[in-house]
Symmetry: none
Subunit: 402 residues, 2 copies
């Protein structure tokens, strides 16, 4: 019932403002059984106050036991069915660097890598070549032409680039060419459907030309392609929810997902402080703000429990009071997934979520933590239900049926 | 898994009795953040005792964040998918006054209104003319004839009436003609699908004739039509659950929904006391009773927190002991939705539910309130799962699979 088509029929105008603060990788796990998680360890008086006055729960980004990628988990937070709308990493990466993907385009994420004289991979990231080196190689790769399609190659960061093919009749699904291990040759792109044969052939022609062009270089003498996919046509958030939406996010991937659902992507900052500044400056012009804080997740990925704790504390001290000071009608604080330092990766653990509004009917949760959120009256909920709840609390949905 | 088709294959006969007591608009919100809801404020020793011995939870009538209308929320409580079975208010209103709607009939809810000499609405309710006046005007409107269809006009209450067209090939969806504001003319009925063109034309012919007929009267010199819809064919509760079902409800709308699912509608009373009398008198003849108490919702709609509290207390003192005294095998007490006095309207907040039976495996909920129900072992559940639970507790469902 929280499907977007139905929700969109219930939307009524209002002047209320909604802020969705995503602390990437927020959820955690204790290092020792019976201990505290990162969030439970962190001193977070401001988040705790919001949790006490608000309503809390634990959300599953995709489903119980499923470890989400960043793309699907953000789509779910924005209220889009993440399974019906699975999006390849190539598309997200292209959108993330601000590439103007058009309908029908196919995008792939590319990695420079190193192969030996037999063509077997010896380094999947080509010694993590610096960004400038990657950009220089990308310029060389732009000389590759393919029949009947336009080809775009764009640098991302370090050893990563984006490849986009534009033309008629391109279609997936396609396999990837990064074998994810050493001492094997990158396999060719394979079409997983008859309609995808032409796209597979074009990508393979491009890889062959790239291999030839890079052959005598070191360490980046080969490429692999991942997440080959077509740009999906998602309904925009403004169309679905009647909201003027804006994203504030420092990392390309998250700006990319935001663009995919039609958000205005505001100029990013280098720091949390600059993100606050952007929020305040643009406060009057939007109804919905998606604020993304990346570094908490990175600390989890690095297995650095203490750094994750202190980054959560920093968000609590700096970001939360600044947002509260703007008096949003609805403030949602959550993560897109858990990233326990113990696991050094995204995980399937459900994610703490708090919703604060004048109308939320607060619950017994006394603090913002995994344990307290488990007692919250939001209960255990799919991430896709957070937007309908935010809309309801913002008094932006009419009654369903008579 | 709670879909009715599957449930119906599991039904086994028994002599157990189920009572579903619906306190309309039961759920609430504190007036001040951190305060108590209406139900938490009310002194409800009898409901609290049931909650302690029973099992509690919070149900979502339609979905998280969705504010339900009375029709969909009751269908959900009866175990019907409320989204798959959305029903127009015209149909509910017609059923509510006991009109014998037949398959293929289209019904609309009509309002008498006042228009000025330019045809612009000056009063959407024609000065709330009394019921007798409305009935007199309805008698005049019965003179209107339409080609190839039968026309029925029935008074409801005050300025409201029901219009039913009966004939072959009538179909929706249709737009309404109440613009919901003043100083505009009622728009014509429009067909939202090619198949609906004939019905739209017939309704418009009828409205034109009504305008002519009422033109010289005051204040009711025009009509508007709302909720134009066809009677849906729902499976009956007796067919699905193998129960002899009866409804006791004072308001037409609720008797209407009950009729739609095939319940016998017992004579209503003016008071809670009379409803109890009806229940006791008919106790032997049915397996399932739906008891509806309307006034709690009305107090919420009026924004009258204290009156809502005292009406809940009255139900606790008078209704609950009388029902318990009949020793139903399963007693479910809940609301169809929340109606917080704070919001003066239906709302999206989940609704407290308690289920009391010999077999329910009671939980930690110590009282019947939003907060205690949030701790209950039923958890957060869709309203459609209440009937399967009631059936199970009544030992009326066999094992699924071998």
């Amino acid at each position: 019932m929280t499907d977007q088509k139905t929700i969109s029929t219930l939307v009524i105008p209002n002047t209320t403002k909604i802020v969705l603060l995503v602390l990437d990788g927020l959820g955690g796990v204790p290092l020792e059984q019976g201990g505290l998680t990162e969030l439970e360890t962190a001193r977070t008086p401001n988040l705790d106050a919001l949790a006490r006055d608000g309503i809390c729960g634990l959300h599953d980004p995709i489903g119980r036991g499923i470890t989400p990628g960043s793309g699907p988990s953000h789509l779910a937070l924005f209220g889009y069915d993440p399974v019906g709308h699975l999006i390849g990493r190539g598309v997200l990466e292209a959108l993330g660097i601000g590439f103007d993907l058009q309908s029908g385009d196919m995008a792939a994420r590319g990695n420079f890598c190193t192969v030996d004289s037999d063509g077997l991979i010896t380094d999947r990231r080509a010694g993590r070549i610096p960004t400038e080196k990657g950009a220089e190689l990308v310029r060389q790769l732009r000389s590759i032409e393919l029949p009947d399609v336009e080809v775009f190659v764009e640098p991302v960061k370090d050893y990563r680039f984006v490849l986009v093919l534009r033309g008629k009749g391109l279609s997936g699904p396609l396999t990837e060419t990064d074998p994810q291990k050493l001492s094997v040759a990158p396999p060719p792109v394979e079409a997983l459907h008859a309609d995808a044969a032409r796209a597979a052939s074009l990508f393979n022609q491009w890889v062959a030309a790239a291999r030839e062009l890079l052959a005598d270089l070191q360490p980046a003498n080969m490429v692999t392609l991942r997440g080959l996919d077509k740009k999906p046509n998602l309904p925009s958030m403004s169309g679905v929810y009647g909201l003027r939406t804006a994203a504030i996010a420092a990392y390309p991937m998250y700006r990319g997902v935001a663009r995919l659902v039609g958000m205005d992507v505001l100029p990013e900052g280098e720091s949390v402080e600059e993100e606050i500044e952007t929020l305040a400056t643009n406060w009057a012009d939007y109804d919905f703000f998606f604020l993304h804080v990346k570094k908490i997740d990175s600390a989890g990925e690095d297995g650095d429990f203490d750094r994750k704790v202190s980054l959560i504390e920093h968000a609590d001290q700096v970001l939360v009071p600044a947002i509260v000071g703007l008096h949003p009608d609805v403030l949602v604080v959550t993560g897109d997934h858990s990233t326990p330092a113990l696991l050094r990766s995204h995980s399937w653990h459900p994610v703490p979520v708090l919703l604060h509004s004048r109308h939320c009917r607060s619950d017994e949760a006394r603090a913002f933590s995994e344990r307290e959120c488990a007692k919250g009256a939001l209960g255990r909920l799919p991430a896709t239900e957070i937007m309908p709840l935010a809309m309801a609390n913002a008094l932006r949905l009419r009654k369903y049926g008579a």
